[in-house]
């Protein structure tokens, strides 16, 4: 009977190795390579990644489109003007008012012209005679900038807080956890709207930071601030469990500095989670931005964003439904593509993933 010293069973090591991957062909390949291999086969995820990239590229082309195709800026109104369609002069926004004492309702902007007006008003005009296509692209630029920007900031701070809390534990962990709890306890949307509205009046001018009232930084920072615990909490949990693992102790016992342990030992191990969170939180933030802008607490006029465009369009939904429909479709498409891709990414990085967004 084997009753002594069985800790060194070397077959176990072999078994562990075998259990890691059943496949001889991919022995020794890095997990990133494996993930990439899995992702490469997920055509749906790749297709949606392509959709997202296409949207980003399109929006980046906004200035080119505005200059060379539509010949108008995103905030340039054309009330009272006309344009040429098939040789005819068409008012951009229909005329209304009193003629000979008779009242005529007006103010209906022209609908999508596609290419009938030589690149003008491809997607129609809004109630101020602005080119919807141009605003859509610039609005997309703003929405994406806020979505991605706040995702970067949010993920970065969540990561730093999680690393500090998870690595140092004790008091540091306690303080950071209570900070997370506090933001968590706030009614998030209410907090975001309150902050967005308060800051949009005069901007933020404290602690040597100066942000002007119309700045995109306001919604970006507001969104990233309120969402920090949503990523920070799960990351902290992961780090806490990692800390118990031997290789961290090994690194510690070899006298590695805290920074080294954090960044070269802990960080790579949560990198895949961070990547997935990052993708999904962009989607989430684009939705949040749209909601804030819809309530007037996000992007400030005249700058467009998809949310403000929907808000502006809702007053014209019966006579000019495209004003609200088109930016909505853009949001859905963008968010959907990020969600599908993020999903695929998660499946690829960790087939039995525990990484999950708590929204």
């Amino acid at each position: 009977m084997a009753t002594e010293s069985t800790t060194d069973f070397t077959l176990d090591t072999a078994a562990a190795l075998a259990a890691a991957e059943d496949e001889g062909a991919i022995e020794g390949k890095s997990p990133w390579y494996l993930a990439w291999r899995r992702l490469r086969r997920n055509y749906v995820a790749l297709a949606f990644l392509f959709v997202f990239v296409a949207i980003v590229v399109l929006c980046l082309c906004a200035p080119l489109y505005a200059h060379h195709v539509a010949h108008t800026g995103p905030n340039t109104g054309h009330l009272g003007e006309t344009f040429t369609r098939d040789g005819q002069q068409v008012p951009i926004v229909s005329k209304g008012g009193f003629q000979n004492g008779q009242f005529h309702a007006g103010g209906i902007p022209v609908g999508p012209q596609l290419w009938h007006a030589g690149g003008k008003y491809v997607l129609g005009a809004d109630n101020q005679g602005r080119d919807v296509a141009v605003r859509l692209l610039y609005g997309g630029l703003n929405s994406l900038a806020i979505g991605i920007g706040s995702a970067v900031i949010c993920t970065f701070f969540a990561m730093v807080f999680a690393l500090l809390a998870g690595y140092y534990g004790g008091k540091t962990d306690w303080i950071i956890s209570r900070f997370f709890d506090l933001i968590w306890a706030f009614p998030v949307l209410l907090l975001a709207i309150a902050l967005g509205t308060a800051l949009s009046i005069n901007g933020f001018h404290h602690f040597g930071i100066n942000i002007k009232s119309g700045s995109l930084w306001i919604p970006t920072l507001v969104i990233s601030y309120v969402l920090i615990p949503y990523i920070g909490r799960p990351l902290r949990g992961q780090i806490l469990s990692l800390r118990e693992k031997e290789f961290i102790e090994a690194a510690n016992s070899q006298g590695a500095s805290s920074l080294r342990v954090m960044f070269s030992e802990l960080l790579p191990n949560i990198a895949s989670s961070i990547l997935v969170f990052f993708t999904l939180i962009i989607a989430n933030n684009i939705l949040t931005e749209a909601g804030l802008s819809f309530l007037g607490a996000g992007v400030q006029p005249p700058s467009p964003s998809w949310g403000t465009m929907i808000a502006d369009g809702q007053d014209r939904i019966a006579t000019a439904p495209w004003l609200a429909i088109i930016p909505g479709i853009m949001i859905v498409l963008t968010v959907l593509s990020l969600n599908v891709f993020g999903d695929g990414l998660r499946d690829a990085l960790d087939p039995r993933a525990k990484v999950r967004m708590e929204h």
Binding site: D181, L182, W184, A185, F186, P187, V188, L189, L190, L191, I193, A194, L195, T197, A198, I201, N202, A283, L287, A290, G291, F294, L295, G296, A297, G307, I310, Q314, I317, A318, P321, A324, I325, G328, I331, V332, V335, L336, N339, V340, D343, R352, A353, R356, E358, H359
Partner: protein, 317 residues
């Protein structure tokens, strides 16, 4: 157990105080928003404004003002700056609409979320799963206010397909059928995101749980498939859903339904909050924030207790 609850409740109280204080700080320095001037109106005399300033202790240090505001809030005498309506009364008046909306939507999203999650998990990989996955992903990608706008436009506003009443809230007590029909669209609009979300979470929970050793044990015991699925897989997969549900429900009750209420003109607490923020009206903002935070911390305690009840491993002894 009791000490656990007491500890959590004390923690919750501290959080409430902190949240209210931070909210106060955010709004106390709003430029141009002198409440005395707003109450007095544009015809006010200097005397008038001075009286109001004293009544509201507007010249006192901000912590005293904060304390005065909290005192009047909890004694139920806090009034709004822009209308002098009692804040607590107004929140109370919004509760029927908000609760009707949130409870109805919660029932829908819980039922359909679980249904969708189960169907797609047990048919994982088949077409039904794929269709559900696609629908769920679209569901979580829809901006709720846009969905509401489209629903209203298509189904309620004199549009050819219109068959629903357009916005507004009808109290259950005055007309139960009207209450139901007016809420049907908002319920679904609010629920759709959650259905997609819960369906996906439950699906992956079930798929994770199906691979658990104890499910294999249950099968090896010779239990029928249904019993294995219900008693072992579903029972365990639903535990995280309960947590999620508690927190989400608290959030929507606590004002996350702002967008839905605004779009459908439901005058609930969320709508009141949105108005207050637009009016930069501090007392109702404070009131609603505390109301919302109360539900959030309350439900987080409830969720902890539920969790302990559902999962014996974390039951405090």
């Amino acid at each position: 157990m009791i000490s656990f609850v007491i500890r959590r409740l004390i923690g919750a109280l501290l959080v409430l105080i902190a949240v209210s204080f931070i909210t106060y700080l955010i709004f106390v320095k709003i430029p141009g928003g002198d409440p005395a001037f707003r109450i007095a109106g544009r015809t006010a005399t200097a005397q008038n404004i001075e009286d109001i300033r004293q009544k509201l202790k507007l010249d006192a240090p901000f912590y005293e003002q904060y304390w005065a505001m909290m005192k009047s809030l909890f004694s139920g005498s806090l009034v709004s700056y822009s209308s002098q309506l009692n804040v607590v009364d107004q929140i109370k008046a919004g509760i029927p609409a908000t609760f009707s909306l949130c409870i109805g939507a919660a029932i829908i999203w819980l039922f359909f979320g679980i249904l969708v999650g189960i169907i797609s998990a047990v048919t994982a990989g088949r077409w039904s799963d794929r269709v559900i996955t696609v629908m769920a992903l679209i569901g979580i990608s829809l901006p709720v206010f846009w969905l509401g706008l489209m629903a209203r436009y298509l189904f309620a506003q004199g549009h050819p397909f219109a068959f629903m009443p357009d916005g507004g809230y009808v109290p259950f007590t005055s007309n139960p059928w009207g209450w139901f029909t007016h809420l049907l669209m908002p319920w679904w609009v609010l629920a759709i995101l959650f259905i997609g979300f819960y369906g996906r979470v439950l699906r992956s929970n079930i798929l994770d749980t199906i691979n658990e050793d104890y499910v294999r044990t249950a099968k090896a015991k010779g239990l029928p498939y249904k019993r294995v699925m219900v008693k072992h897989v579903l029972r365990n997969s639903l535990i995280p859903i309960v947590t999620l549900f508690g927190l989400d429900f608290a959030a929507v009750i606590g004002g996350s339904a702002i967008l839905t209420e605004t779009v459908f003109d439901l005058k609930g607490v969320g709508w009141y909050a949105a108005q207050a923020v637009q009016d930069l009206d501090l007392p109702p903002i404070m009131g609603v924030t505390i109301y919302a935070t109360f539900f959030i911390v309350l439900f987080s305690v409830v969720v902890d207790l539920m969790y302990a009840w559902l999962d014996p491993r974390i039951r405090p002894t």
